[in-house]
């Protein structure tokens, strides 16, 4: 045990040095955490003596011009619709009638009381809780293991695992529909051969979420795996070499070298996976269960769709969308606040 403090300090020492630019860029790409991005892309411009001095007003305004194109795009496609959604959430509108009827907070309060909202909320948490281990932990372990596999086999494995990512989700859903068929699907047949009666995956309230989680993770895990690969490749070999010289192997090497240096990637993967968990499940829900049976597989994103485009109740749909927006804002902020402290960004 006595060796570890030394190792850690070695790592800290090494990590404070400059990295080879390629590796650093790689890491930054894989994990565009705010601090990394800021530190790298805004090296205190005005103070730089190499920049010729211009008129103060122009200099003051210049940054605004730089961000203007991005801001216009964001404003047009994100903030304006967000504002409209917020306004719509206070109204009753069927998407057709020429006028919106103001209802105040009624949409919110009726949603808060409705059982389908509760079911969707509960399911969204369930989906996320089940997707995270499969779409974050599993790819992390696989990436770490595969990193140890040499040459051709490694890229073959990587290709195989990444393939589902490029398959259309609709096609994937149909393939899984066929495999999960409880009457004559291959999975049911395999289970029967082992003497088990498989569940009715998509029509059993207890199994429908695990089934959709499985499909979603099969689809998205490969992408996360590639992100982890990028993170792993960017870990400089000299650090792990040094650790090896000090006698670190296997778990110790992972725990004290790989894991800390991989935290920016992991954090990024975690944040996007939580957000996409409820969005990526939409396609299989829509294609395979339509939220059923009896709301057992619905989630908040699917419920928004149902209210707005199936019930043509844009007000409730908008209110739901705003609630989801705020909830995810909160979750992301929480992740930022709680987890980012454990993230080691290289300086």
């Amino acid at each position: 045990m006595g060796r570890w403090p030394k190792l850690t300090s070695l790592w800290v020492a090494v990590s404070k040095q400059d990295r080879p630019a390629a590796a650093a860029a790689h890491l930054a790409e894989a994990a565009p955490g705010p601090r990394t991005a800021l530190a790298r892309h805004h090296p205190a411009l005005p103070a730089d003596p190499a920049v010729p001095t211009r008129r103060p007003a122009a200099r003051r305004l210049a940054p605004y011009f730089y961000v203007l194109p991005a801001f216009v795009a964001l404003a047009l496609f994100v903030y304006w619709p967000l504002g409209r959604t917020l306004a719509l959430s206070l109204h009753d509108w069927n998407l057709v009638s020429p006028s919106w009827r103001y209802v105040g907070m009624a949409n919110y309060s009726s949603l808060a009381r409705s059982s389908d909202f509760h079911a969707a909320l509960r399911n969204t948490v369930l989906y996320t809780a089940e997707i995270l281990p499969l779409a974050v932990v599993l790819p992390l372990l696989l990436a770490t293991l595969l990193a140890g596999v040499a040459g051709r086999l490694r890229s073959l494995n990587r290709t195989l695992i990444f393939t589902p990512t490029v398959v259309s989700f609709a096609v994937a859903a149909v393939v899984w529909l066929w495999m999960l068929n409880p009457i004559h699907g291959v999975i049911a047949a395999a289970l029967r051969a082992l003497g088990w009666q498989g569940p009715a995956w998509l029509s059993d309230p207890a199994w429908v979420i695990p089934a959709i989680v499985l499909i979603t993770c099969w689809k998205v895990a490969g992408y996360n795996l590639v992100l982890f690969f990028a993170g792993l490749t960017s870990i400089p070999t000299d650090v792990s070499e040094a650790a090896r010289v000090d006698g670190a192997e296997g778990w110790a090497l992972f725990r004290h070298i790989t894991w800390p240096l991989l935290t920016p990637t992991t954090f990024f993967v975690l944040v996007i996976t939580v957000i996409v968990a409820s969005q990526d499940t939409f396609v299989p829900i829509q294609m395979l269960t339509q939220g059923g049976p009896d709301q057992a597989s619905t989630n908040l994103v699917y419920l928004i769709y149902q209210y707005a485009f199936q019930f043509f109740d844009a007000g409730h749909g908008a209110a739901l969308a705003i609630m989801v927006f705020i909830a995810f804002l909160g979750v992301t902020a929480l992740q930022q606040g709680l987890l980012e402290r454990h993230v080691h960004y290289e300086r």
């Binding site: 009457i183 009715a200 059923g292």
Partner: protein, 467 residues
């Protein structure tokens, strides 16, 4: 997309390109046309690739090339017909109309996502003040559309001709397009639920493969025999929407709505009995616990003896099944009259321009004429909504001589009732509430009475209170 459909699409694309290259002259080469008995797609015309994705406009100008006069009025016709389900018929009909009426040019536009998708796009078009002149509206949307959309009532479109026009329909079918005694459109696509039977499985179970069970009680018995002798499932009624829910509840003496149509009525003892019957089929392992997307392929794979769904599914089944399935009448509950909800669509007029309305009226009259309906029925597997086509050799008479079981859905037309639409601006949500409750009951998650009572209270509250 099946390989055949894909090849067809490719062939279609090729011939479209060819046509374009030739400047629109000449007839389209017939693409691979597998005359399967059911929907007998009569005329796979050139641009079957057009509807592969999204909403695609196809101007049928090739047919107009010969007529010199420029059309005075151009109108749009929205439909849900995919290449596999009726698009060739739509193209043929539109081309024929344009040829006949040189003063009008109809452009047809495929809408993805069936009637829900079409209605969504219609909303956008209405909001943009550019609605199509004519659109296919699913029977399950008639009430909602007529109460919430700027649809033009048929008598306004028809001028003085409405009474005369409606003569072509049997009385019970005119009701399909009605809400509050106003006729909102022309009933067009029509289907009623039928039973598909796997005679080989019945035979393997020692049952008479020629005689499908006529009542639900017999269906249950037959299913029991199939299960015990073959280990396979007996029956699967369509689950995806409330089409079958209504057929079961109303066929057992219940009703979905009260007499005046403003309150829910689907928790009556009769309705409970119907759902309980269905639940027992699943509980006893006679019907699979499976979604439609799982059960229908299982039927064609020979694992389910009978399935109740729309006759429009026939051509798909024919492509998949390795056995010759049969069509049989939808079962009755012993001692109760059959009531079959209508499937299909009404042609409604949305244009506010009087000139375009006039053109739309000509189009509606043409589309519901015996000759046009014959093309439509042959190309889709729908039932003819108008009188006097099924026995006439000029129209569908010969078809039935050749394929007698195609007559099954026709013999049931007298039992067709409107597909119940729920009242008010929240009516569409009631559909979901009922569907959820029914599924909870079918799965045994909730007791049948509790499920229906709960759904009814929720639905009545949603439509504005109803005690």
């Amino acid at each position: 997309m099946s390989r055949r459909a894909f090849l067809k699409a490719v062939a279609g694309l090729g011939s479209v390109a060819l046509l374009a290259a030739c400047g629109g002259g000449g007839a389209a080469p017939a693409t691979d046309n597998v005359a399967n008995s059911a929907t007998a797609p009569s005329s796979a015309s050139a641009s079957s690739a057009s509807a592969v994705k999204g909403s695609v406009a196809v101007s049928s100008s090739t047919a107009k090339a010969s007529s010199a006069a420029a059309p005075e009025e151009t109108i749009e016709y929205w439909h849900i017909n995919t290449p596999a389900f009726g698009l060739p018929a739509v193209e043929e009909l539109v081309a024929k109309f344009n040829e006949k009426h040189s003063e009008i040019a109809v452009t047809h536009k495929f809408q993805q996502g069936f009637y829900t998708g079409l209605t969504q796009n219609l909303q956008a078009a209405v909001a943009a003040k550019r609605p199509p002149a004519v659109a296919q509206i699913g029977y399950n949307y008639v009430r909602y559309i007529s109460e919430n959309f700027p649809v033009v009532a048929l008598d306004k479109v028809a001028g003085g001709e409405l009474k005369d026009f409606l003569q072509r329909y049997p009385d019970n079918l005119v009701k399909l397009a009605q809400n509050k005694d106003v006729v909102w459109g022309a009933p067009y696509g029509l289907s009623d639920p039928v039973t598909y039977v796997n005679p080989e499985l019945l035979q393997a179970a020692g049952l008479n493969p020629e005689k499908a069970p006529a009542t639900w009680e017999e269906v249950q018995q037959a299913a029991q025999v199939v299960k015990s002798r073959t280990g396979k499932y007996g029956v699967h009624p369509q689950l995806v929407d409330n089409w079958m829910t209504q057929a079961m509840i109303e066929g057992r003496g219940g009703r979905m709505l009260t007499e005046n149509g403003s309150c829910m009525a689907f928790n009556s003892p009769e309705a409970q009995a119907a759902i309980q019957f269905w639940r027992d089929l699943i509980k006893d392992g006679l019907a699979p616990q499976a979604t439609d997307e799982e059960a229908f392929p299982s039927f064609t794979a020979g694992n389910i003896a009978m399935t109740m769904t729309t006759p429009a599914r026939r051509s798909t089944f024919e492509k998949q099944a390795k056995f010759a399935f049969k069509l049989a009448p939808f079962p009755e509950f012993r001692g109760y009259p059959r009531r079959l909800p209508s499937g299909g669509n009404v042609l409604m007029v949305f244009t506010q321009d009087p000139k375009k309305q006039k053109a739309a009226w000509e189009f509606l009259k043409f589309m519901t004429s015996p000759a046009a309906i014959t093309i439509w029925v042959k190309g889709t597997g729908y039932v003819s909504p108008i009188k006097g086509t099924e026995d006439d050799p000029r129209y569908l008479g010969n078809l039935f001589k050749e394929f007698p079981t195609m007559k099954v859905p026709y013999d049931q037309v007298k039992d067709i009732v409107p597909w119940v639409n729920y009242p008010g601006p929240r009516g569409l949500q009631v559909e979901q509430i009922l569907l959820d409750a029914r599924n909870a009951a079918l799965l045994g998650k909730t007791d049948v009475k509790a499920a229906l009572d709960g759904a009814m209270a929720k639905a009545n509250e949603l439509v504005g209170g109803c005690q």
